[in-house]
Symmetry: C2
Subunit: 334 residues, 2 copies
């Protein structure tokens, strides 16, 4: 590996591939001179897209991959059969030490399965959680697992808590981050069987700053830096946040179009509102890392455009510079 921080990028994955993906790569290169990007995908298509752009040619390399895993494909089948897909080829560059990280906006399930099967889990890690940053009134919090492991055991949630703490402290810079477990009541003793069994493990863990249960309604207020839950619940909560925000947006729009007065008023608040609401938009925060693998794998939204792709790439630099993998190995192998 060169002195660069090398990130393999799935040029074919996501709704806006390859154009927005490649634009994001070029923007990221401009913003950070330590970055080198391996664009993985159909060589001719990538070349054609690049031909119209200006960028540092030493820091972009094309890795040809002739197949594409589509969004609707069954993840395990796809990973096993499409050996020359951009996801499989990209992940192999991480496994083989040619890249520090892999970023994809493609099939989530395939990224998850590929991460486990190709990149592989760190020693001491039994489940690798998806860990997206979610916007709150105070900034951001980390919600993990938000979808990788539908059924979890208490020891998995304990490891999510440790991983999340390290991520928030060293990637986001939140000193001694607070950790809570998502439950159906704030008091100790509330919860389903999993939460009740996990609570004492978190309470006794010296590596984290555990503050107890958190109810879902207190997440967006920003009451906890790290929120731990199983991947089924995390997925439901994350998507409920998205859905509610979207529906409220529609409701608001209708209210603004009600009559001439509201239309005028809406024009006057539009920019300010847009700015404030965009801070509350999950897609501004780059991708979700799949934590606990031997190399970094980041999944960005399927709808990612160049800004999110760029942010996801830049996130990989911090991850590498802060040696998050080293810190995770240290904490998790105890």
């Amino acid at each position: 590996m060169e002195d660069y921080i090398v990130v393999a990028l799935d040029a074919m994955g996501g709704d806006n591939a390859p154009k927005e993906i490649i634009l994001g790569a070029v923007d990221a290169l401009k913003e950070n001179s330590k970055l080198k990007v391996l664009l993985v995908g159909k060589e001719d298509i990538i070349k054609q897209n690049l031909s119209e752009l200006s960028y540092d040619k030493d820091r972009i390399e094309i890795i040809n991959a002739t197949e594409v895993i589509e969004t609707a494909e069954h993840p395990v089948n796809a990973i096993n059969h499409k050996k020359d897909s951009s996801i499989v080829v990209g992940m192999k560059t991480v496994r083989d030490g040619k890249a520090d990280a892999f970023v994809s906006a493609g099939n989530s399930g395939a990224v998850l399965v590929g991460g486990q099967l190709i990149v592989g889990r760190m020693k001491g890690v039994k489940r690798a959680p998806f860990a997206p940053l979610i916007p709150t009134e105070k900034g951001v919090s980390l919600l993990l697992d938000s979808g990788a492991n539908a059924d979890c055991r208490p020891e998995h949630l304990l490891s999510f808590a440790k991983m999340g703490s390290i991520y928030m402290e060293y990637v986001i810079g939140r000193k001694n981050p607070t950790v809570s477990i998502l439950s159906n009541g704030a008091e100790e003793g509330k919860g389903n069987a999993l939460v009740k069994d996990t609570y004492p493990l978190l309470k006794d863990c010296a590596d984290i700053n555990f503050i107890g249960n958190i109810e879902a309604r207190d997440i967006t207020a920003g009451n906890s830096d790290v929120i731990v839950c199983d991947g089924f619940v995390g997925n439901a909560v994350l998507k409920m946040m998205e859905g509610t925000a979207k529906s409220l947006g529609h409701v608001m729009k209708k209210a603004f179009y009600k009559n001439l007065g509201t239309k005028l008023g809406a024009l006057m608040v539009k920019n300010s509102l847009k700015e404030s609401l965009s801070a509350f938009d999950a897609s501004e925060y780059g991708g979700a890392p799949l934590l606990g693998l031997k190399g970094l794998v980041v999944k960005t939204h399927g709808s990612a455009k160049k800004t999110e792709v760029k942010n996801s790439l830049l996130q990989c630099i911090t991850f590498k510079e802060q040696d998050i993998s080293g810190k995770l190995v240290e904490k998790l192998s105890v």
Copy 2:
């Protein structure tokens, strides 16, 4: 029991008791002449509150109860030890056939425990779910269980689906309501162990119009009339909706206060926005019934004011008139 539909109302429960509770009762009596309300609580306090109001004296009765179960009390202990509390006394009026329903804005856990222990479950019902109506872009949907039973088995979810269908069809008037199960993906085969085991039961059930999995982000769009899940997940999703809406409200407010222009604009959209957003406010839809008990028990929000109390009381009339209990017994004992 008289020819009236008799509802026992916990006059002491909730943040705004007794004043708003009693106001809600008086308003409900004015709106429906078939209703009679038993106000359960401290007689002197209730009398004092009523003294300032005008109402049909034949249709309000005070049932004295000297104790109050506070919000923070442990539900099982409270139900077992405060035998003269408004919740215990009120539920006994239902058990003893003196009232058709009981409505409370008090301690949720105590209402749930009291419902099971005092009113008792119907034959064939193993778990009684909380079933609130939640606002969607198309109207309302029923989310059950939304918090009564944190850990559930597939047969419980099947019974929730049947109960929810009957409720939506006969109380809300949604013909042949669609039923879905909350999952982490729309396709069959997605889900945690509980969802995967429940799916075939729902698919094979002739009593419901099952349409498959639903992702949380599609709930508020109104894509399904009835959404089934365990009480832990339902609670998380419901509270995430509340929390997200609240945080977005704060974010919006800040945007409106940014400068003179935005303040003026905000004034112009204020009324229209308020009206539209209030349709998206869960508290407008009365309380959540605890389905599957031998009598109707309705839990309203702790923060309920007179309108929500009134709506909760009126809901009990439809429930009785449509003989929902009879219909539930019929479907669930099969």
